[in-house]
């Protein structure tokens, strides 16, 4: 044990008491499969972007000291994705050789869930989109064999990574279209400025095999789709600024735009979706939307007062959770007895029990400066 050398030196002429010394050099590890109520708090550290964090927190814990399970860093507004089939998490981050200046290097870092250590990295073209954290910057497709990373320079493209062999395969242009939504097989979709969507099929080498465009199906100016979609069973549900819900089925070779329905019922006039992370889903396939009353042009990122829960099959609101403090972002744990977690306007994380709709606790003092996104652990 290297660490004992210095101690030995110090104590060479000093006798110890005869108690059993505690072991030194112990490093904690986490279970490969995380308890269902652990969450990952994505701290963009907006005032200190070179010191961003991902903090693993037990949302069930009332003990402020022990709820913190560990953390890892992410630099310059990183983006994040968790694998389901491997105990891995993926972070795209940007480094400059001299902090905020010098040579830029973009990487996809692979983090191990048991050790919270970086097990590998894939160097990417230095083009990854520098944007607020959002869930469709990184996705996995083809049974989690390919990782896709959205680029914006401002030309738009997608970097394709063989995430099993951890190698960069190439870059696919997505002119006029942004973000990556997972499709079946080796394919992805992007959402386009003109109110259409693009689908891209990839070949065995991760290169573009074919592309297709939907018709224009939404008005990007007057009632745009929020890019912050909820995905349930291969269907992306896009809330619109004015409170409609637009499903796009991504299970086939091409995209299929479904029938639009309204989030608003009788007496709901003026309510709109809004926030930084507006949607969530649970294990039962329900969709959660952060909502605020008295909407107006420009309110689509305002904090929400309630979370409305929808069953996409029936298109009905099945629950309505009043927040104890307005929230800017929501997330769900992924189990059958889910917790709703919400970044409140004090930039703390509030925990609600979905079944009862009741506020449980506030997770403060977790070392987060700006907890932008909340992820239920896989």
């Amino acid at each position: 044990m290297k660490k004992l050398i210095f101690l030995t030196l110090l104590f060479a002429s000093t006798a110890f008491g005869q108690i059993q010394p505690e072991p030194a050099g112990v490093i904690q590890t986490l279970p490969e499969s995380w308890p269902p109520h652990w969450i990952i708090v994505q701290d963009g550290a907006f005032f200190h972007m070179n010191s961003g964090k991902f903090i693993v927190v037990d949302a069930d814990s009332d003990d402020p000291a022990t709820r913190f399970k560990g953390m890892f860093n992410g630099t310059f507004i990183p983006q994040f994705f968790q694998a389901e089939s491997r105990p891995e998490m993926y972070v795209t981050e940007t480094f400059y050789s001299r902090g905020t200046r010098g040579v830029r290097t973009d990487v996809l870092t692979i983090w191990d869930k048991q050790t919270l250590s970086p097990v590998a990295e894939v160097v990417l073209p230095p083009k990854r989109a520098s944007q607020m954290p959002m869930n469709y910057h990184i996705q996995l497709v083809d049974d989690e064999k390919l990782a896709l990373v959205y680029n914006f320079t401002p030309a738009t493209s997608v970097s394709v990574i063989d995430i099993v062999n951890r190698t960069f395969l190439g870059e696919v242009p997505t002119p006029g279209c942004s973000l990556v939504f997972p499709m079946a097989g080796r394919a992805f979709a992007s959402i386009c400025t003109d109110g259409s969507m693009l689908s891209v099929q990839l070949d065995e080498d991760g290169q573009q095999a074919s592309t297709a465009r939907t018709d224009v199906f939404f008005d990007a100016n007057n009632d745009p789709l929020m890019e912050k979609a909820a995905m349930v069973d291969g269907v992306a549900y896009f809330p619109t600024f004015l409170g409609r819900m637009v499903p796009v089925d991504m299970r086939g070779e091409s995209l299929e735009v479904g029938d639009t329905w309204s989030l608003l019922g009788a007496g709901d006039d003026g309510w709109r979706p809004g926030g930084l992370a507006v949607t969530g889903t649970d294990g039962a396939g329900r969709i959660y939307v952060l909502m605020h009353p008295d909407g107006y042009e420009g309110s689509h990122k305002d904090p929400g007062a309630e979370v409305w829960v929808f069953d996409p099959a029936t298109r009905q609101r099945v629950d309505r959770i009043a927040l104890q403090l307005p929230a800017i972002s929501i997330g769900l744990t992924r189990d059958d007895n889910p917790l709703l977690v919400a970044t409140n306007i004090n930039l703390e994380v509030d925990v609600y029990d979905v079944a009862s709709g009741e506020f449980q606790r506030t997770l403060s003092d977790i070392g987060a400066e700006t907890p932008f996104l909340l992820h239920g652990a896989n």
Binding site: F46, F47, H48, M49, F76, I77, G99, T100, R101, G102, R104, A129, S130, Q131, M132, M134, F152, T153, P154, T156, C177, S178, L179, S190, I191, C192, T193, D219, A220, N221, N222, P224, L225, M226, E227, G274, G275, L276, H292, P293, D294, Y296, E297, G298, S299, H300, K301, D302, P303, G304, P326, I328, S329, T343, I345, N346, L347, E369, T370, F372
Partner: protein, 176 residues
């Protein structure tokens, strides 16, 4: 009721926490400007003045140019460079002004005239951290990048590190 106002009101407490509150949706730069984008916008379409009568060397202005309420900032989103060693239309020492900007159309209360504002980010140093100011009117999702404020507009600069944002008057606009 405007939830955002509530949020911002709380943040006016000059505490570190308050400061942190003002950041959460930062929304880098880029705002909707009907006249420029054209198309069916939710904000009034503002055809640009063609008449020489409207010509002035610069608009007369009043108010606190380092307040988020200042007229030029109708579509800004970021740290005000005037609080960071620059000014409303210049960058702080040692930063680089982004060549790629977004545009707003703001009404000057002094003359009731609408002006085209170019919001240029200043880049290459870490967050200034002062006078975070955000207004989301006209903001659209990131797939509409020219009108999306969740983007970092430090593009085409030596470093993409975002420091603060300016608001530069580049023309006059006429109301419908």
């Amino acid at each position: 009721m405007n939830w955002l106002d509530k949020w911002l009101d709380r943040s006016v407490e000059k505490t570190t926490r308050g400061l942190a509150q003002r950041t959460s949706r930062r929304g880098f730069l880029g705002k909707f400007a009907g006249a420029v984008i054209g198309g069916a916008a939710t904000v009034p379409l503002l055809p640009v003045a063609r008449s020489q009568e409207a010509a002035t060397p610069a608009p007369l202005e009043e108010g606190d140019a380092n307040s988020c309420d200042y007229w030029r900032y109708c579509a800004i989103d970021g740290f005000l460079c005037g609080c960071c060693g620059g000014s409303m239309n210049s960058c702080p020492p040692g930063t680089e002004m982004s060549p790629i900007t977004w545009i707003g159309t703001c009404e000057n209360p002094v003359d009731g005239q609408n002006y085209i504002i170019s919001y240029n980010d200043c880049c290459g140093k870490a967050s200034c951290g002062n006078c975070l100011c955000q207004r989301n009117e006209g903001d659209r999702p990131v797939y509409n990048p020219r009108v999306a404020n969740d983007l970092n507009w430090c593009l085409g600069t030596t470093s993409a590190a975002y420091h603060c944002s300016t608001a530069i008057v580049i023309g006059a606009a006429l109301d419908d």
